[in-house]
């Protein structure tokens, strides 16, 4: 582990200095995360307004969600956020093999999250909790519950899509990062990717209480 490789960044020709390039990409990623937050904020606003318009229906629907799978998924993402921090710290130290292992662990945890999510959706289908399929809907008596369940599916679906693209980009990045000399030229990419991954975790940290916990 102590055979540290040189760490640095290769300056693109339209930047004046490497620092300018590094700060520019960090600011670019933060601007992108800003838009991701506002994208999900629309859904959180709808969840809040539904809670105001139909309190009983939302509580009924929220209690039918798989609370423990959601809790487990949150814990998984927090672990993946930890391993991602590890990958960043190791990339700064130049310990390439350790960094690659951490990145693979992060990808594995992300995939585990998706597997659990898939299982949760499967349970929903079995319990007839999916109103927009052509099978009978369990809580058909109170149509307002459909609104909250629909918001649940759209929010978790959108988040899962972000996580899926996140894991696939991470795998491609890991393959490139495992090559010699990567850290000498593109260490910055690991940090920028880390920001994106942590933010997917932040979004889920908000989604879990909004859907599963607050309305119980």
């Amino acid at each position: 582990m102590s055979d540290a490789v040189p760490v640095g960044i290769e300056r693109l020709e339209h930047f004046e200095s490497a620092d300018q390039q590094r700060e520019a990409s960090a600011l670019g990623m933060w601007a992108w995360l800003l838009t991701e937050l506002l994208l999900f904020a629309g859904l959180f606003l709808i969840a809040l307004i539904l809670r105001i318009l139909h309190p009983a229906a939302v509580t009924l629907a929220a209690t039918h969600l798989k609370f423990w799978i959601g809790a487990a998924n949150t814990a998984i993402l927090i672990c993946s956020s930890f391993t991602m921090s590890g990958a960043i710290e190791l990339s700064r130290l130049g310990w390439q093999r350790g960094m690659v292992r951490c990145m693979l662990a992060t990808a594995a945890l992300g995939t585990l999250f998706l597997v659990l999510k898939g299982y949760e959706y499967y349970c929903d289908v079995v319990e007839h909790m999916v109103p927009f399929l052509d099978q009978p809907y369990a809580l058909a008596a109170d149509p307002a519950t459909r609104l909250f369940v629909d918001v649940y599916f759209v929010t978790t679906g959108l988040h899962a899509m972000h996580l899926f693209t996140g894991v696939s980009i991470l795998l491609v990045l890991t393959r490139m990062a495992s090559r010699p000399g990567f850290l000498a030229r593109h260490q910055n990419r690991i940090e920028i990717y880390g920001l994106y991954w942590h933010f997917i975790d932040v979004i889920w940290i908000i989604v879990f209480p909004v859907l599963y916990v607050l309305n119980r």
Binding site: L34, A41, S81, S85, L93
Partner: protein, 96 residues
């Protein structure tokens, strides 16, 4: 891994580990409150705990507190705008 490497690694990983533990602890609070629903206004505590978790990840994992003031502004800007959207929409729904 020599002991010197291990010490260097711990020096770097100290903050992520603390924040990791803090996040799991806060999650545990939310989960217990959610599972037992002790009192009607428990959602306020849960919302507060969620806010703490978001701040921990933002400030520590994404190292916003060690970053340039510009990045700090951009990390808080989104949440401030979400606040604007929520509060103005609530003036409609709570005022009806």
């Amino acid at each position: 891994m020599t002991s010197e490497d291990r010490r260097l690694l711990w020096h770097h990983m100290r903050l992520p580990t603390i924040s990791f533990a803090a996040l799991l602890g806060l999650l545990a609070i939310n989960v217990t409150l959610g599972a037992t629903t002790p009192f009607r206004w428990a959602w306020m505590i849960e919302a507060g705990v969620t806010l703490c978790m978001v701040l921990v990840v933002l400030l520590v994992s994404m190292e916003v507190w060690r970053d340039t003031p510009l990045i700090r502004v951009f990390s808080m800007l989104g949440f401030f705008w979400v606040l604007i959207m929520f509060s103005m929409t609530l003036t409609d729904y709570l005022g009806r």
